[in-house]
Amino acid sequence: MASRVAVTVNGAAKTADVEPRLLLVHLLREVLGLTGTHIGCDTSNCGACTVLLDGRPVKSCTMFAVQADGREVMTVEGLAKDGQLHPIQEGFHEKHGLQCGFCTPGMMMTATALLQRNPNPTEDEIRWGISGNLCRCTGYVNIVEAVKYAAEKLRSTPAGAGGRS
C-alpha cells in the first residue's frame, strides 16, 4: 500500500513510494538521505525537525510525507548556494550561535522564515519567532545575535539576491 509522493526538495524534484504513515522527517532523513534535519522529540515541541514547506516553517515530525506531495520543501542542506553560505549560517558561526549543533538546522530554518516575514525584527520579535525551537546549549543569547546578524546582512544585500550575490 505504498503511495507515490512527489516533492521538490531544495530545488530538485524527488519521487518516492512510501507508506502513508511515513513522517516527512523520515522521508527526508531515511529515504532521501538528508540527515541535516534532526529529530528531538515526539510531541512537536522542540523544533529540531523544522523545514520550510512552500516557504513556511513546519515541524516535519508532525506531518506525513504524503502531505508534502506536490509541494516544495527546503532543508538546511538547501541554505547554502554554490558553496556560498546563507547569511543565517554565517550569523550562527560568527556569533557563536551553536554549540552541539543538534538544534541548529531547525533553528536556522525557523529564523530564515522569520526574516522573510519580518526583515527587521526587534529582539522580542526574534525571541518570539524562535520560541518553538528548543536549544539546550546556548541560552539563546547568541542565537538572537546570529539572527540579528543575518537580518542586517540580508537587508544590505540587493533584493532578490536572497543574501547571496
Binding site: 522529540c41 558561526h93 546556548t138
Partner: protein, 783 residues
C-alpha cells in the same frame, strides 16, 4: 591570508561549526549500515509489578519482526543484570519484576524502524501490580515493601555516607548564639539534551570484533566496561572499538550505560547484523538517568554579628530502583562535601542516606559536577535565610563570611583544599555591574507601594576537574586524562584526546592550547576524539573535567614536543640547547634572533634530518594526573519582579561574574556560561519530574517537562574576574557547569527576598506561579 597561531585568550571562531551549519554533522541516527536492524523497547506501564507472562506471538507474526528479547533470554547469557558504577547492579531486562514505570521489559528486533515499533505495540505483557513506594522517607519505614528482593539486605536503605567532625560541629551548635534550620527539597529533573541516546552495535562474527557507535561522553570507559561485562561471550578489549560520533548535547545524560545499549550489543552478537537503537524523547525523559532528588535538612550556626561557625546537613537521596549514579567510586554522594561553599566555616558535618524507590535510576546527570548544585544551592539558600533573620544585607553577610583571598590554598572543614579564589572581588564586581545599592532603594520604594521585587545573590564555589588518582576512580580506573600530539613533516598536527566534546568546542579550544604552546596555527591542527582505536585512553568529558584534565594533558604533551624540538633545533643551528630561546613558534640563538628555526622547519627535520642519537619523529603523549581539583567560583545577582495576581516570576536582570581562571577562548566560555545559566534558570522556575502515588510519571514528555524557550530566558549579563589555578599548567579551571551550579540559588533567593517581609522563608524550586500565588493568598496579599 596566512594562518596565525592565536593561542590562549582569543575568541577563535569554532572549527566544528563548518559541518554543523551545513547540516553535515555526523550524529548517531545519521549513521546507516548495510543490513542494519532496528531495536525498539517494550516498557512497563506500572511502577512496580510482577511480570506473569510475555506473549510475543502477535509481534512475531508481523512480517519484518525478527525477535522479541526478554530478560529470560538474556539470563541464559548472563546479561539480564549489569553492574552499575556504584557497586550496585541494574536490570538490563527484568526476569520477573519491574521496579519503575517505563522500565525496559522486552526488546523487539525488526528490519525497519516502524516495524520494530509495530512489534512493541503487539507484545502483550501480563502484569500483577505490587505496592508502590515513591516517597524515600516512607521507603525507609520498617513496614515499607522491600523493593530490591535480589539483595540480601531486606530494606530499602542503600548506604550511609558522612563527612566532617560531628562532635566539633555539635559543640558549635550547642554554643551558637544564632541558629537557622530549613528543609530544602531539590527536585528530580532531567537533562533532556536535544539529541536523545542511541547506538549501533556491529558485531563481526568472523573477526569476533565489535564496533559500537554510541552516544557516549566516555568512550574508553565504555570499551572497558563492555569487555568486563561481556568478556565471557568472547568480547575482548582489543576487539572492541567504541566510536562516539557528534553528540547532540550530553550534560551527563550520556555517561551511564542504559539497557538499550546492552540489548543492542547482544542482538548484534546473536544475529551477526548491525543493530540500531535510538530512544524517543519520552523514553529519554522517563527512563534515562535523572538528576538530584535530594531531601535536605540544613542548619547553620552563627554569632550574633553574623559570623558563621558551623554547618550541618542531613540528606535523604532518592536513587530510584538501582544506585546507578555515575559518581567517582569513592563518592556515593558525589562532591556534596563542597557544601561549606565560599564561607569560612570552622566546623561542618554532612550525612547522606541513599534510598531505593520505584523510580528510574540515576542521580547526577544535569550539567553538574557530582552533586555540586545540591551543595551550592543549599548553602546559598541558608546564607540568605540567616542574613534575613539577622536583618543583614545578604551581600554584607557574604562579604563578612567569605574565605579571605590571602587564605588560599584553603582547606575546608570537610577536607577539600581550594586552589585559589577571590570571592570578595567577584561579588563587588557583580554589585557594581548591576547597581546593587540603587536596586535596594528601588525595592524599598516599591515595597511601600505594595509591589513585589526581589534581589538574589549566589556566591558559589565549584569543584571540578576530577580528579587526582589518589582519590578519584571509576570502577578502579583512575581519573587521569590524555592527549597525543603528532606533528607531521610539514608542520601540520593531528592531536587526539581521551575526552569527547558534546558541544563544548574541543576541536577549537584544544587546538588553541597546542597553538599556544607550539606556535603552530590552529588552522593547522586537527583535533580528534571519540574513537577508542585512535585516541589515547581517557575517562571522558563530564563534570567540567576536559580543560582541567585533558587540556592540561594537551599542554604537557606539547611541552614534551617542545623539549624534543629544542634538541633538533640545536642540531640544526649548531648551537647548544642551553643557548636557545623559545619564542612562540621558533627557537633562536640567544643574542642572535636571526639564527632561528621555526617549529615547522624543526618538524621537517624531525623526519628528514634528525640528529644522531635522537629518535626520528615529533610526537608525544601525556597522561595527566591532576595534583588537585580546580575551584572555579563566581557571584551572581538576580532581580525579579513578581506579579501579585498570577504569581508569575519575571527575571528582570541577571548579572553573572564568573572566575574560571585563565581563559582559553572567551567566546566559548561566554557561550558555556549562557547555556549553564539557562540550565540553572530551568530547575529554578520550570523543570521538575514528579510521580503520583502509583508511581506514574508527571513531566514525562516535552508537553509538560518545560525546557526554557527564548521567551523565558533573560538576556544574561556576563562579567569576569581572573584568578588562575596555581596547579594547572595553563592556570585554567573549567567552566562548563559553574553557571548551572550557581544560578538556581540566585533566582530562588531573589523570589524569597521579594516575599520575606510577608513572612515567607523558603519556597522549594521550581518556583512555579502557583507556589508564589499560594504564598501570597495564604498571607492575604492576593485573592
Amino acid at each position: 591570508m596566512a594562518s596565525v597561531a592565536h593561542g590562549m585568550g582569543h575568541s577563535v571562531k569554532r572549527k566544528e561549526d563548518a559541518r554543523f551549519i551545513r547540516g553535515q554533522g555526523h550524529y548517531i541516527d545519521d549513521i546507516k549500515l548495510p543490513g542494519m536492524l532496528y531495536l525498539d523497547i517494550v516498557r512497563s506501564p506500572y511502577a512496580h509489578a510482577k511480570i506473569k507472562a510475555i506473549h510475543a506471538e502477535k509481534a512475531l507474526a508481523i512480517p519484518g519482526v525478527l525477535a522479541v528479547v526478554t530478560g529470560k533470554d538474556l539470563e541464559k547469557y548472563g546479561l539480564a543484570w549489569m553492574p552499575t558504577l556504584m557497586s550496585d547492579k541494574q536490570m538490563v531486562l527484568p526476569i520477573d519484576t519491574v521496579l519503575y514505570q517505563s522500565q525496559e521489559v522486552a526488546a523487539v528486533l525488526a528490519t525497519e524502524r516502524y516495524l520494530a515499533a509495530d512489534g512493541v505495540a503487539a507484545v502483550e505483557v501480563e502484569y500483577e501490580p505490587l505496592p508502590v513506594v515513591v516517597d524515600p522517607k516512607k521507603a525507609l519505614q520498617p513496614n515499607a515493601p522491600v523493593l530490591r528482593q535480589d539483595r540480601e539486605q531486606k530494606n530499602n536503605h542503600i548506604w550511609h555516607w558522612e563527612v566532617g567532625d560531628k562532635a566539633k560541629t555539635e559543640k558549635a551548635f550547642r554554643e551558637a548564639e544564632v541558629k537557622v534550620s530549613q528543609d530544602i527539597y531539590i527536585p528530580r529533573i532531567h537533562v533532556a539534551s536535544i539529541e536523545t541516546c542511541g547506538c549501533i552495535a556491529q558485531w563481526n562474527p568472523v573477526e569476533s570484533h565489535l564496533t559500537l557507535y554510541m552516544t557516549t561522553q566516555a568512550p574508553h570507559a565504555i570499551r572497558t566496561v563492555v569487555a568486563l561485562v561481556a568478556g565471557h561471550l568472547g568480547l575482548a578489549e582489543h576487539k572492541i572499538r567504541v566510536i562516539s560520533p557528534d553528540i547532540g548535547g550530553g550534560f551527563g545524560g550520556k555517561v551511564p550505560v542504559y539497557p538499550g545499549y546492552v540489548v543492542a550489543v547482544a542482538a548484534s552478537v546473536l544475529t551477526g547484523a548491525p543493530v540500531k537503537w535510538i530512544e524517543d524523547r519520552m523514553e529519554n525523559i522517563q527512563a534515562d538517568s535523572f538528576a538530584r532528588d535530594y531531601h535536605i535538612t540544613a542548619e547553620v550556626a552563627a554569632k550574633k554579628d553574623g559570623t558563621v561557625t558551623a554547618l550541618r546537613a542531613k540528606t535523604i537521596a532518592d536513587h530510584g530502583a538501582f544506585d546507578a549514579a555515575a559518581n567517582p567510586s569513592k563518592f556515593p554522594a558525589g562532591l556534596f562535601s563542597i557544601c561549606t561553599g565560599s564561607y569560612d566555616f570552622k566546623s561542618a558535618f554532612a550525612e547522606v542516606d541513599g534510598v531505593y524507590t520505584n523510580k528510574p535510576p540515576g542521580g547526577i546527570a544535569y550539567r553538574c559536577s557530582f552533586r555540586v548544585t545540591e551543595a551550592s544551592y543549599m548553602i546559598e539558600r541558608m546564607a540568605d535565610i540567616l542574613a534575613h533573620d539577622l536583618g543583614m544585607d545578604p551581600a554584607e553577610f557574604r562579604m563578612k563570611n567569605f574565605i579571605r583571598p590571602e587564605a588560599f590554598p584553603y582547606t575546608s572543614p570537610l577536607g577539600w583544599t581550594y586552589d585559589s579564589g577571590n570571592y570578595q572581588a567577584a561579588l563587588k564586581k557583580a554589585m557594581e555591574r548591576i547597581g546593587y545599592a540603587a536596586l535596594r532603594k528601588e525595592q524599598a520604594e516599591k515595597r511601600k507601594r505594595g509591589e513585589l521585587m526581589g534581589i538574589g545573590i549566589s556566591s558559589f564555589t565549584e569543584i571540578v576537574g576530577a580528579g587526582p588518582s589518589h582519590t578519584f576512580d571509576i570502577l578502579g580506573l583512575k581519573m587521569f586524562d590524555s592527549a597525543e600530539i603528532r606533528v607531521h613533516p610539514t608542520g601540520k598536527v593531528v592531536a587526539r584526546f581521551g575526552t569527547k566534546s558534546q558541544g563544548q568546542g574541543h576541536e577549537t579550544t584544544y587546538a588553541q592550547i597546542i597553538a599556544h604552546e607550539l606556535g603552530i596555527p590552529e588552522d593547522d591542527i586537527a583535533v580528534e576524539e571519540g574513537d577508542t582505536d585512535t585516541a589515547p585512553y581517557g575517562l571522558g568529558t563530564y563534570a567540567s573535567r576536559s580543560t582541567p584534565v585533558a587540556g592540561a594533558a594537551g599542554a604537557m604533551a606539547a611541552r614534551k614536543i617542545r623539549d624534543k624540538a629544542r634538541k633538533i633545533a640545536a642540531h640544526l643551528l649548531e648551537a647548544s640547547e642551553s643557548d636557545l630561546e623559545w619564542e612562540r613558534g621558533k627557537f633562536f640563538v640567544k643574542g642572535s634572533p636571526n639564527r632561528a628555526k621555526t617549529i615547522q622547519e624543526i618538524a621537517f627535520a624531525a623526519y628528514t634530518n634528525h640528529p644522531q642519537g635522537l629518535e626520528a619523529g615529533l610526537e608525544a603523549v601525556s597522561y595527566y594526573d591532576p595534583p588537585n581539583l580546580t575551584f572555579p567560583f563566581g557571584s551572581y545577582i538576580c532581580v525579579v519582579d513578581l506579579d501579585k495576581g498570577t504569581g508569575v516570576v519575571k527575571v528582570r536582570r541577571f548579572v553573572a561574574v564568573d572566575d574560571c581562571g585563565n581563559i582559553i577562548n572567551p567566546m566559548i566560555v561566554e557561550g558555556q556560561i549562557h547555556g549553564g545559566l539557562t540550565m540553572g534558570l530551568a530547575p529554578a522556575l520550570y523543570e521538575e519530574i514528579t510521580y503520583d502515588d502509583d508511581g506514574n510519571i508527571r513531566g514525562g514528555s516535552f508537553m509538560d517537562y518545560l525546557l526554557p524557550t527564548a521567551m523565558e530566558t533573560p538576556r544574561w549579563e556576563l562579567d569576569k574576574t581572573v584568578t588562575p589555578s596555581p596547579h594547572h599548567p595553563l592556570g585554567a579551571k573549567g567552566v562548563g557547569e559553574s553557571a548551572t551550579v550557581g544560578a538556581p540559588a540566585a533566582i530562588a533567593n531573589a523570589v524569597v527576598d521579594a516575599l520575606w517581609h510577608l513572612g515567607v522563608r523558603h519556597i522549594d524550586i521550581p518556583i512555579t506561579p502557583w507556589k508564589v500565588w499560594k504564598a501570597l493568598r495564604d498571607r492575604g496579599v492576593t485573592e
